[in-house]
């Protein structure tokens, strides 16, 4: 079962991870940038093509595996976590990237996402959140805002949206991060952090659908607002944002307050320092939404624990150690038998 080792360590490039398939996303789709970011990241991680797996569900984002020259599995709607779990239980050495979207992962596949996160299977989950169904032509998704007019909600959506990051934290995910499609450099950094994390790492990527929900994140990503609306967290560093990093968050008892350093006697020491192991803090940060607050980005929560796939394999090894390799003849004759002469 052990996968074969690569023939010779050759330094791979972005091109080595690019398949010969024509990319068929709409012009201007945020997915292009994410694809470029991952194709750039993999060579830097020093991983091999044959051990890298991209597993997706159904939706625009789920076409992703076809464009990667690795092993890829375009499965069925919402179920990618289950396929990925099966793969990892057979061969934990395989490096699995799970590609999903807000519809695939939080609507039809919400159940499976919950369980892959709480089990802590060692995979990287990338959720492209464009707050719309793209492939089925523009219906509202579970992350769409109330009031969104779409072909299936002509009078405006009345569904309360789910917050992907809070969902992941609620499911006991042990690595939760957020990035933005077009900010390739930080995204590459997040991919590396996610890859280094043992267990399920969950990255919500804000992604723009230029056809059905254009500009859904502009209030966060536009150049003129980005510094005020994005707070990139770093473990051990104060939660500062704004053009000159003068704005800060003070978080106390689950309440967040925006302060300005240097005003009203506030100093940098008053600003809350990010602790990525603090689940309560992570929950508070996950729920911050513009315009009253900036959205948080980066690794919001990281608290490693045993990876499910490794624990399963360890149980099998333990059973072999305890009972020896299974003997079918002994099994069939176990318990009560009798002889007929």
């Amino acid at each position: 079962m052990a996968p074969l080792d690569p023939p010779a360590a050759k330094k791979l490039t972005k091109k080595d991870f690019t398949s010969d398939q024509e990319v068929r996303w709409c012009p201007g789709c945020g997915d292009y940038a994410i694809l470029a970011a991952i194709q750039r990241t993999l060579p830097e991680l020093g991983v091999s093509r044959e051990k890298s797996l991209f597993i997706s569900g159904i939706g625009c984002s789920s076409r992703f595996p076809y464009y990667m020259d690795t092993y890829g599995f375009h499965t069925i709607h919402g179920r990618a976590p289950s396929f990925a779990t099966g793969v990892k239980l057979v061969n934990p050495e395989l490096d699995v990237w799970l590609i999903t979207g807000d519809g695939d992962g939080l609507s039809i596949g919400g159940n499976h996402l919950l369980h892959v996160l709480r089990r802590n299977v060692n995979v990287q989950v990338m959720m492209f959140n464009n707050r719309i169904y793209g492939l089925t032509k523009g219906q509202y998704s579970p992350t769409s805002l109330v009031g969104l007019k779409s072909p299936s909600s002509p009078m405006g959506s009345i569904d309360a949206p789910v917050n992907p990051m809070a969902f992941a934290l609620g499911a006991n995910a042990r690595f939760v991060a957020r990035g933005i499609d077009t900010m390739i450099k930080p995204l590459t950094g997040l991919f590396k952090e996610a890859h280094a994390h043992k267990g399920t790492s969950f990255i919500e990527i804000l992604q723009n659908c230029p056809v059905f929900n254009d500009g859904t994140w502009t209030h966060v990503t536009a150049k003129d607002v980005s510094s005020d609306m994005q707070l990139w967290v770093e473990h051990g560093q104060p939660l500062l944002f704004g053009k000159d990093k003068k704005k800060g968050l003070v978080i106390s008892g689950g309440d967040a307050k925006v302060v300005t350093v240097g005003e009203d006697g506030v100093t940098e020491a008053d600003v809350t320092v990010h602790d990525e192991t603090n689940l309560g803090l992570a929950f508070t940060l996950a729920h911050l939404l513009p315009p009253a607050f900036p959205m948080v980005f980066g690794v919001v929560y990281r608290n490693p624990g045993p990876a499910y796939d490794e624990s399963v394999v360890a149980q099998v090894a333990e059973a072999v150690e305890k009972n020896g390799e299974g003997d079918i003849d002994a099994l069939l004759r176990s318990g009560h038998t009798w002889s007929v002469e």
Binding site: F73, T75, F83, L89, V90, N91, H336, S339, V340
Partner: protein, 623 residues
């Protein structure tokens, strides 16, 4: 009354006996039944069992719907069914009597725990007067004993609490039956010692109750018509035997297949009645190279198995009808990407939740056709508990050789039913050859074996074979996504042809009893083998021109089946559904197969099949 019995008694020899144990679901009837079964196996009888229990875990005591039953047929001849009607009914309370009495033939022997026939219990069972007193049991031979009191008294010396003491009444009854039917108490005594190894006081009390029941039989005056019996050994082929239940055999068959294929199994499953015990049995076999995964739902279970197959293991999932419905889309994906997958469907009465603990064979259509679009796969159906072992192995062989999902249609009847099984040797089991593709030269993921049409099995981790698979249609020549109309037509034909080709790799259809050609063929499939075979045997012994054909390969069907069926004047298809196989045979072969449906949550009785054979030979429609 007869004279009191003594040790040197004369016993009446019987060829076969059917005993039904019935009581509250908390009365330990399943335990009494399985112990009598084990003991009869040691005594050398052929046997068949059928447990029948309510879905409620702890149904309210004394109610009709809380009655749990266990029927055991043991004999000195070959038997294939648990018997139509009980010769002996053990009724531990009024509800058990009420539910089961109509099955007992006139003159049948009924052992009753009169201690449970209180006013309250009679009322719960819906009796207006006490049947022990109102003469309504006059047509039967009744042995009415206050088992509750006697069992409690027998364990008084052990200091057991009143509640626990009363619980020994099943073992006390077992002791009495062992006396009546000349069974050795040794195996049960040993079993009790092992079961209660950590609570020796309970072992001691139960053994005391067992002996007390036996002693009661030795000394008590038995009513008129009740004699002492013996059932001599059956003539079975020599070998090592064990009792086996269908679900246990499925689990062991899968473990054996993993060894035969030298390939690990990943068993992804979600609990569902009556399939859960397959998961329980296989979860104990991790050291056989089997990984078990209890998924969050039926869909995740099958998807994890498919993911495992893609990664190079044998993906297996187990379920029952409602779970099959949920798995449909994923099974379609496995058909599309052509990966091995084994789906064990332990059928139950439906539709929807139906009657979860009752048996049915009504998932045949779902197995054959229950997916979107043209999605053919292989379907097998074991014919008995022991055959589940062989068919699990056969499913893995076909799945890996043809890169296809295979559905195994077991059902609640053989899942929980047990039979003596001649234990095979591992060395005699069929070889399963599994080969992963490793050669990058000219590789694409849909390269096919020209003979079997199976595609290659390239597994992730293999350098140079990086590729993408998925549910989208693929080009025949490259494995790339394709929307080409002619290609889709071709691929649909290839998928169908691959499955049909399996017919060249399975045995030709044989005639179980009788001969090719004649007036009538009874065509059965799956778990009804025993009842149909017995009925045809009895009809033939009466000189009737009827043959038995039994299908274990449901799709593709054996290559000679059409020609064989066309040699009979009439084909009757008894099955535990509303006519599904009959429909398939009519559709496939344009033969006027006549349906004999039974949809009662219960297996066929030999008697009703005999009547159907008579009707068919006389030209009547039987329904």
């Amino acid at each position: 009354m007869d004279t009191p019995v003594s040790q040197d008694v004369t016993r009446k020899t019987l060829e076969s006996v059917v005993i039904r144990f019935a009581g509250d679901s908390g009365d330990g009837m399943q335990l009494a039944g399985t112990q009598f079964t084990q003991t009869s196996a040691v005594a050398g009888n052929d046997l068949a069992t059928f447990p029948d229990f309510p879905a409620e875990i702890r149904a309210p005591a004394g109610t009709l719907f809380g009655v749990s039953g266990f029927q055991l047929h043991f004999a000195s001849k070959e038997i294939l069914t648990p018997g139509d009607e009980p010769d002996v009914l053990v009724a531990m309370n009024p509800a058990a009597l009420k539910v089961n009495l109509s099955d007992v033939p006139s003159g049948g022997f009924i052992i009753i725990n009169s201690g449970a026939f209180s006013k309250a219990n009679l009322k719960k069972a819906g009796y207006e007067s006490n049947p022990l007193e109102d003469g309504s049991l006059d047509a039967y031979r009744v042995l009415s004993i206050d088992i509750s009191r006697l069992a409690t008294a027998s364990v008084e010396h052990t200091g057991l609490g009143a509640k626990s003491a009363l619980r020994t009444k099943n073992v006390w009854t077992l002791g009495l039956l062992y006396w009546l039917f000349d069974r050795d108490r040794g195996p049960t005594t040993e079993w009790l010692k092992q079961k209660f190894a950590k609570k020796p006081e309970l072992a001691e009390a139960n053994i005391a109750a067992l002996n007390a029941g036996h002693a009661y039989g030795e000394t008590a005056e038995l009513p008129v018509g009740v004699e002492l019996y013996k059932v001599p050994k059956a003539k079975l082929p020599p070998g090592t035997y064990r009792n086996i239940e269908g679900n246990q055999a499925l689990a062991w068959g899968i473990a054996a297949a993993a060894k035969l294929a030298k390939t690990p199994v990943m068993f992804g499953s979600y609990p569902i009645t009556p399939a859960s015990s397959v998961l329980h049995a296989i979860a104990k076999l991790k050291h056989f190279g089997v990984t078990t995964f209890q998924a969050e739902d039926e869909i995740a279970a099958v998807c994890s198995a498919i993911g495992a197959s893609w990664a190079g293991a044998i993906g297996v999932t187990s379920t029952s009808g409602p779970g099959m419905a949920l798995k449909g889309e994923a099974i379609g994906l496995a058909i599309m990407i052509e990966l091995p997958l084994v789906i064990l469907d332990v059928q139950r009465a439906g539709p929807s939740t139906g009657m979860p603990t009752k048996t049915e064979q009504a998932d045949l259509f779902q197995a054959l056709y229950g997916r979107n679009s043209d999605a053919p796969l292989c379907v097998l159906a074991p014919q008995s508990p022991g055959d589940c072992f062989a068919m699990a192995i056969e499913a893995v062989r076909i799945a890996t050789k043809y890169m296809t999902p295979v559905i195994v249609l077991s059902d609640g009847y053989i899942a929980n039913g047990a039979e003596p099984w001649a234990v095979p040797s591992f060395a005699d089991l069929p070889e399963i050859k599994v080969e992963f593709h490793t050669d990058p030269e000219g590789f694409h993921p849909y390269l096919r074996d020209p003979e079997t049409l199976a595609r290659v099995w390239p597994i992730p981790g293999t350098p140079g074979l990086e590729h993408r698979v998925g549910g989208l249609e693929k080009n025949f020549d490259s494995g790339h996504i394709s929307y080409d109309p002619d290609n889709h037509h071709k691929m649909t034909q290839v998928r169908a042809g691959k499955i049909l080709g399996i017919a060249n790799d399975i045995p030709e259809q044989t005639v179980e009893l009788g001969q090719e050609g004649g007036k009538l063929a009874m065509v059965s499939w799956g778990s009804t083998f025993g009842a149909v075979n017995e009925a045809v045997r009895q009809a033939r012994s009466q000189g009737k021109d009827v043959s038995h054909i039994h299908l274990r390969y449901m799709w593709p069907m054996p290559r000679n089946l059409e020609a064989l069926l066309k040699t009979y004047d009439k084909v009757v298809v008894p099955e535990l559904n509303n006519g599904q196989l009959a429909h398939v045979l009519r559709g496939e072969y344009l033969i006027p197969a006549q349906s004999l449906p039974k949809v009662a949550g219960k297996p066929f009785r030999v008697g009703e099949l005999l009547r159907a054979i008579d009707d068919a030979l006389e030209g009547k429609e039987s329904n």
